[in-house]
């Protein structure tokens, strides 16, 4: 027998091993739910899978009696719009600010302390300020995401820029580059894939801020719905919504990873060499 640290699962074995914990959780849930429903058929805490399916069918395919909307899809699209807009704005700001902070010493000296200070403020603490300034509409929700993740993204971008080998920056200058050309042709193309990596890491926080904002003030959205039906203990809606959010988060992460690979083919061989 080989040592445990040297035993690697095969491809199919790996997939099966990965599935086991999920199946286990489903099995335990289904068992516990059955037990509870047998004692009290009106139990709301652990609804059966069939109940969840019924509720989701209603949310997805039957227009709401009040507004005529298909609630599940309206919620999904308004949440994704807010998230996408917030993340896109953050990415753009941090790309511009981060690059200038990283490459131009005078800008770094002037602006970096401010960014550090802002990043220390818990974003949720200023949510009331956002509601007061921007009202209860879409802007304040998007702003919360932007304020929540931009400081991290800026600092990460700045560090990545400063990590670029000094040799490259000097070499570019000996090839006649001015500051702007160093930024556009040497720094920017090498920073874009690293920004995507940082975005993947900050998506979790972005969701957090989105749900928080929606929970407090909204008329649609995944977070809004979860917090709304909580009043009726509707676990049959909450649980599928949570799973759906997890699926959306996973899909966003996967898409960003694919984008990074296909748009920047040079980094595949570069990282392989670094390993």
């Amino acid at each position: 027998m080989k040592r445990l640290i040297n035993q690697h699962p095969r491809r199919i074995g790996k997939i099966l091993l990965g599935l086991i914990p999920f199946l286990l959780i489903l099995g335990v849930y289904s068992f516990a739910s059955n037990e509870r429903l047998e004692i009290n058929p009106n139990d709301k805490l652990m609804p059966a899978f069939s109940t969840m399916a019924d509720s989701m069918h209603r949310m997805m395919f039957e227009p709401s009696k009040r507004s005529g909307e298909y609630l599940f899809w309206t919620d999904t699209s308004s949440s994704l719009k807010r998230l996408g807009l917030g993340v896109a704005i953050s990415a753009f700001i941090s790309l511009v600010v981060g690059i200038f902070l990283g490459i131009i010493p005078k800008i770094r000296a002037g602006v970096a302390p401010l960014i550090t200070a802002v990043s220390l403020i818990p974003p949720l603490a200023i949510l009331p300020i956002l509601f007061i300034i921007f009202g209860l509409g879409e802007v304040s929700k998007v702003m919360l995401i932007v304020l929540g993740i931009t400081p991290f993204l800026i600092r990460d971008t700045q560090l990545r820029v400063m990590e670029l080998p000094e040799e490259q920056i000097i070499k570019a200058q000996t090839l006649g580059a001015n500051s702007w050309q160093v930024i556009t042709r040497v720094v920017l193309p090498q920073i874009l894939p690293k920004l995507i990596d940082a975005l993947r890491l900050s998506l979790g926080s972005a969701w957090l801020f989105l749900i928080a904002a929606e929970a407090i003030s909204s008329t649609s959205g995944l977070g809004y719905r979860i917090f709304l039906v909580r009043r009726y203990l509707s676990m049959d809606v909450i649980l599928p919504y949570v799973v759906w959010i997890a699926i959306l988060a996973f899909a966003a992460d996967y898409l960003l990873r694919r984008l990074s690979r296909s748009a920047f083919p040079w980094q595949i061989t570069a990282t392989r060499e670094a390993k």
């Binding site: 080998p165 000097i170 000996t174 006649g176 001015n178 040079w266």
Partner: protein
């Protein structure tokens, strides 16, 4: 073609004196190799020539004009590593220098202009032996090929001075011999002034026209940074023989022993 005149150059970092009272005159077209123990200031000297460090006292004159104190296209550089850009393929790496010049705003060229630059780049790449690798990324190249690429990048700007910072230090001996041949050929063709740092004394004896040894004249064992290094040997390469080699090696290892004692 440019002559370099260095007069009473001192370089200090606070109390740490790195170079002291260094005088040197280099004619256009010389191939100067710099050797010395590590920490003897030869890299600092190269940085001064490159313009990323400034002198504390003294002057560096390029054709009687003070040297520009930031890197520019008159001085090409090849580092030991990280000289090429990982996100550009081989030919784009070489084209970059020309593209910077052709478009100040975007640093990119298009159409016929781009085609002309590309052809020039390919010609240079063929010259350094990378004609078959123009579409590869630097990370796909071996160490020797990466250094060939770095040389090609510098050549497209026709610099008057080429600075080489231990360019072959990380290469296998066989490949290093090929690279020596290449750099000598290029030097003969282009009449460049070359400064090359090497830690290999024999390399210094074999290449170029002039060998400079950096070392400290005086040494204080209690305060190793009290005295800076300067040029202790300045030998035309044709006059190098085994006796001189032994002498220099001896002088350098003696100092080293003193330092460790």
């Amino acid at each position: 073609m440019k002559t370099i005149e260095i007069k009473h150059l001192w370089k200090e970092y606070g109390d740490n004196i790195v170079l002291e009272d260094l005088n040197l005159s280099v004619k256009a077209g010389e191939f100067v190799t710099l050797v010395g123990t590590s920490g003897c200031g030869k890299t600092t000297f190269l940085k001064l020539l490159l313009g990323i460090e400034t002198v504390t006292r003294g002057k560096i004159l390029l054709d009687d004009e003070p040297l520009v104190d930031e890197p520019d296209a008159t001085r090409g550089i090849v580092f030991q590593r990280y000289s090429s850009f990982p996100h550009l393929n081989v030919v784009e790496n070489v084209m970059l220098g020309e593209e910077f010049e052709s478009s100040p705003l975007f640093g990119r060229s298009f159409g016929k202009k781009r085609q002309a630059i590309r052809e020039r780049a390919i010609k240079i790449l063929k010259r350094v032996g990378l004609g078959d690798a123009i579409d590869k990324y630097p990370s796909e190249l071996s160490g020797g090929m990466q250094q060939r690429l770095a040389i090609a990048q510098a050549l497209i700007k026709n610099p008057s001075i080429l600075l080489l910072d231990e360019p072959f230090g990380a290469l296998d001996p066989g490949i290093r011999a090929d690279m020596h041949e290449l750099i000598l050929d290029i030097w003969k063709e282009t009449k460049l002034t070359i400064f090359m740092i090497t830690h290999d004394l024999k390399e210094g004896f074999h290449l170029g026209t002039r060998l400079l040894v950096f070392d400290k004249r005086r040494h204080d064992p209690d305060q190793p940074n009290r005295y800076g290094a300067t040029i202790t040997y300045d030998i035309p390469v044709e006059k190098t023989d085994n006796e001189t080699l032994d002498e220099i090696t001896g002088s350098m290892s003696n100092k080293k022993q003193e330092a460790t004692l």
